[in-house]
């Protein structure tokens, strides 16, 4: 056998593991953002338009099902989607920049509203416990919530600078704990209602002067009838925050992607209706109305726990659990706000609309620390300015939530006419076929609802309108200026080398150090070279069972000379990896990309295949040599590396191209 040390080594320069998550984990990640609104949306709605709030919060949660379906259609079209990508494809960069500015406003505000709400729940609990102990400290829960909120933001700022990623497992644990507490609250609430009886909340809108905003000065715009309903709906719409997380997490969902996305949406929908919608409704049935508007307006679920039927200590214990669950899910939402805002801004930066200054990597941790610090600074300023006023934060929050939904839905309507041939594994229902178009009656109806709500929100929420427009304008300007500067730079220099997504690469000294990471029963080696010729990889990804098969994607680069170790990956090499990552994301299957330097790609192919003990090698056809020559070279490399007395394991080699394949049994 050829002694490896005598010849040019195969350098495993870098590897990147792409793994995908189940729909359960995906749902947990979305719910850590989306589900957290249960802790504050009811109180904010009550303060805005009075005792009819549970009807509207429940209505918004049912409407969430509609919006989840909208997101399923957009995700099925774009694996790496989200508002920015969808709007850019449908209506161009200009509107995409406006949409993403609104979305960033949403993400930035997710941090303060979640951190302050968690602080308020803790403050009110502390106040109760102190009073129970006979200690009366004159402290303001709102001020304590500000201090707590700032501390939480600072903590997650530090964690995100260090590059701590969201863990799907942690999210699942948080959501399971929250679900358990929610189940206790639900069961106990029904027992309480059974014992005490109940009266349905009145469907009567009593808007506070603040909730009417500028509409007070518009004589024909009275908060009655349908206008009143849309106004109230607009004051409850903040409960929809977090839907964008589903678009962000879609790329990580495992095969089969769209069916799993639908399952994710169904879980999110059921959890949200029960947790946010039904629990808010039950709160209004159990807590006296004056307390909902007063003592518990900022900690509604704590109020629910304390007003259940049963011994006080048991209720207090449940309140403590409610506060702990709220703290966990709300802090999860704070982290999501960092991860989401950072992810969105990095995504737009890849598109050249955010100046490289923002993307400069932290010297130690390699994170985009300037973006993270900017988000943290904005969040802390917002918390301080709000003085812990959750209603103020809620008003502003609705702006980003609503307008990003408007842009997303509008874009899907446009795409139905613009991209008629584009593959859609799911279409929002209620469509009429007219020639080659699927006229989206359902989507247009949703858009009309969102638009009316959005316009009324602009009028009824002056603070949100001013803050949202200023924020959007500032970010839009940053994007515009960045784009111009980047265009200028592109004319002066060669294309930016740092625009691609950061690849999670590591250098290994030998292929054998990577082999233990392959744990599945079957192994397939897929050599790749050209990012535009990955038909064979697509074929493998389409047919392989992710549960039982490790797919090793090998990219071998020709490097002359006998031995070295200083080779680095070029942009072209990274382009191959990026294309592999995109394709794996599309099919939702795990791949193990490996990049090696060798002076013979077939030698490295055979070496990796033998070291990893693969069952199959699947090659794409080479335009320069053809399939037969590829097979000949592989056969020679295989024989050269084969140990003389080694037990022969049958390995199938295939060259695959459009509609054809050539096979060879290596022995």
């Amino acid at each position: 056998m050829v002694p490896a040390s005598k010849f040019k080594q195969v350098f495993v320069l870098s590897t990147a593991m792409l793994s995908f998550i189940s729909f359960w984990k995906a749902a947990a990640i979305v719910l850590c953002d989306f589900g957290s609104s249960a802790y504050y949306s009811g109180g904010i709605a009550m303060k805005a338009y009075g005792p009819a709030f549970p009807w509207f919060v429940l209505g918004v949660m049912l409407f969430a099902g509609v919006m989840l379906a909208v997101y399923v259609e957009s995700c099925s079209m774009f694996v790496r989607g989200g508002v920015y990508v969808v709007v850019r494809h449908a209506m161009g960069k200009f509107l995409a920049k406006i949409a993403v500015s609104a979305l960033v406003f949403d993400y930035v505000l997710t941090g303060p509203i979640s951190a302050v709400t968690a602080g308020l729940y803790i403050s009110y609990l502390a106040k109760s416990l102190l009073e129970m102990a006979g200690m009366h400290f004159p402290f303001s829960p709102n001020m304590l919530a500000v201090v707590f909120g700032v501390a939480v933001i600072a903590y997650f700022w530090k964690e995100n600078i260090k590059g701590v990623k969201e863990s799907g497992d942690t999210n699942v644990r948080i959501v399971l704990f929250v679900a358990a507490i929610a189940a206790v609250l639900l069961v106990w609430s029904f027992i309480t209602i059974y014992v005490r009886g109940f009266t349905l909340p009145p469907f009567k809108l009593e808007f506070s002067p603040e909730a009417l905003g500028w509409s007070k000065h518009i004589s024909w715009l009275q908060p009655i009838g349908m206008i009143g309903i849309f106004m109230a709906f607009g004051h409850s719409i903040l409960a929809l925050s977090g839907l964008e997380s589903m678009a962000q997490v879609y790329r990580e969902i495992e095969d089969p992607k769209v069916p799993n996305l639908k399952r994710t949406a169904i879980i999110v929908f059921i959890f949200s209706v029960l947790f946010t919608g039904v629990l808010t409704f039950l709160s209004s049935l159990i807590i006296p109305a004056e307390l909902v508007a007063g003592e518990y307006s900022e900690n509604l679920l704590s109020g629910l726990a304390l007003h259940l039927h049963g011994p006080y200590l048991a209720r207090l214990a449940l309140q403590i659990l409610v506060v702990i669950s709220g703290g966990l899910i709300l802090m999860g939402a704070v982290n999501t706000s960092f991860v989401g805002a950072n992810g969105i801004l990095n995504r737009v930066a890849e598109d050249g609309i955010l100046h490289d200054w923002f993307r400069k990597l932290h010297p130690k941790y390699g994170t985009t620390s300037r973006i993270i610090t900017m988000v943290a600074a904005l969040q802390i300023v917002i918390i301080i300015l709000s003085r812990g006023n959750i209603f103020l934060l809620g008003q502003a929050y609705a702006f980003g939530v609503l307008w990003s939904l408007v842009f997303d839905t509008l874009s899907l309507v446009v795409l139905r006419f613009k991209e008629t041939e584009m593959e859609r594994e799911f279409m929002f229902p209620l469509n009429i076929s007219v020639k080659r178009y699927q006229v989206p009656v359902g989507l247009i109806s949703v858009l009309v609802v969102l638009l009316i709500t959005g316009v009324l929100n602009l009028i009824t929420k002056p603070i949100a309108t001013v803050a949202g427009l200023v924020f959007t304008a500032v970010f839009f300007t940053i994007f515009q200026v960045s784009e111009k500067m980047n265009e200028k730079k592109a004319q002066l220099y060669k294309p930016d080398e740092d625009k691609d997504e950061e690849l999670n690469l590591r250098r290994e000294a030998d292929i054998h150090t990577v082999v233990p990471e392959l744990t599945k029963a079957r192994r397939v080696l897929v050599p790749v070279r050209n990012p535009n010729n990955l038909h064979h990889l697509a074929e493998v990804l389409e047919t392989a069972d992710d549960e039982t098969t490790d797919i090793i994607v090998l990219s071998a680069k020709i490097a002359k000379g006998i031995q070295s170790g200083g080779e680095t990956m070029s942009d072209e090499d990274k382009e191959v990896f990026s294309a592999v990552v995109l394709l794996a994301e599309k099919y939702g299957k795990t791949v193990k990309p490996i990049f090696v330097f060798s002076n013979d790609p077939f030698y490295s192919m055979a070496q990796v295949a033998q070291a990893a003990g693969v069952d199959e090698i699947v090659m794409g056809v080479s335009g320069s040599t053809g399939a037969e020559v590829q097979m000949e070279r592989l056969a020679m490399a295989w024989g050269m590396l084969k140990k003389p007395d080694e037990a022969a394991k049958p390995v199938l080699a295939r060259v695959v191209w459009e509609g054809r394949q050539m096979t060879y049994q290596l022995s």
Binding site: V629, E632, M636, M640, L666, S667
Partner: protein, 156 residues
């Protein structure tokens, strides 16, 4: 002797008559040309001189020296029904310009150009590259007798 699963052994293609020692340090092209000359009488009546030289020269552009320093120029002809080979041993060796590898042994292999034979053709290439490891090439280069070389390879 190493055998592939289809039972084709090297003794079927390597005998003292088709082993040649090439003196000096010829270029790769010259070495291949000498082996082709030696091959010509073995395929006489099946493949003409020009066709043989042209085809070998054509496929030679696609062939590469193996990491082990062994070289297998090979070509397929529809006129053939079995393998034909000529082994060249160059004690002094030559340096391959493309890879920088020292070549002291090479084999010109002709195979039938028939789909049913392709698997056997690949098996033969694999068997040759497996057999001609640096240790064996060192031993062959130390010999001077084609019969001894053939015996060393085939184990007879």
């Amino acid at each position: 002797m190493i055998k592939q699963s289809d039972g084709i052994g090297l003794s079927a293609i390597i005998s003292p008559e088709n082993v040649v020692f090439i003196p000096g340090a010829p270029s790769k092209e010259e070495a291949v040309r000498q082996l082709t000359e030696k091959m010509l009488p073995r395929v006489d009546g099946l493949i003409g001189r020009k066709a043989l030289f042209d085809r070998v020269a054509e496929v030679e552009k696609l062939n590469q020296v193996l990491e082990s320093g062994f070289y297998i120029p090979h070509a397929k002809f529809p006129e053939l029904d079995g393998f034909h080979a000529v082994l060249g041993i160059i004690p002094e060796g030559f340096t391959d310009q493309a890879t920088g590898l020292k070549v002291r042994a090479l084999i010109l292999l002709l195979s039938p150009h028939k789909p049913a034979f392709f698997q056997r053709h690949l098996n033969m290439l694999s068997l040759l590259s497996q057999t001609f490891q640096p240790e064996l090439i060192d031993k062959l280069a130390a010999l001077q007798d084609p019969a001894a070389a053939a015996a060393l390879i085939t184990g007879k």
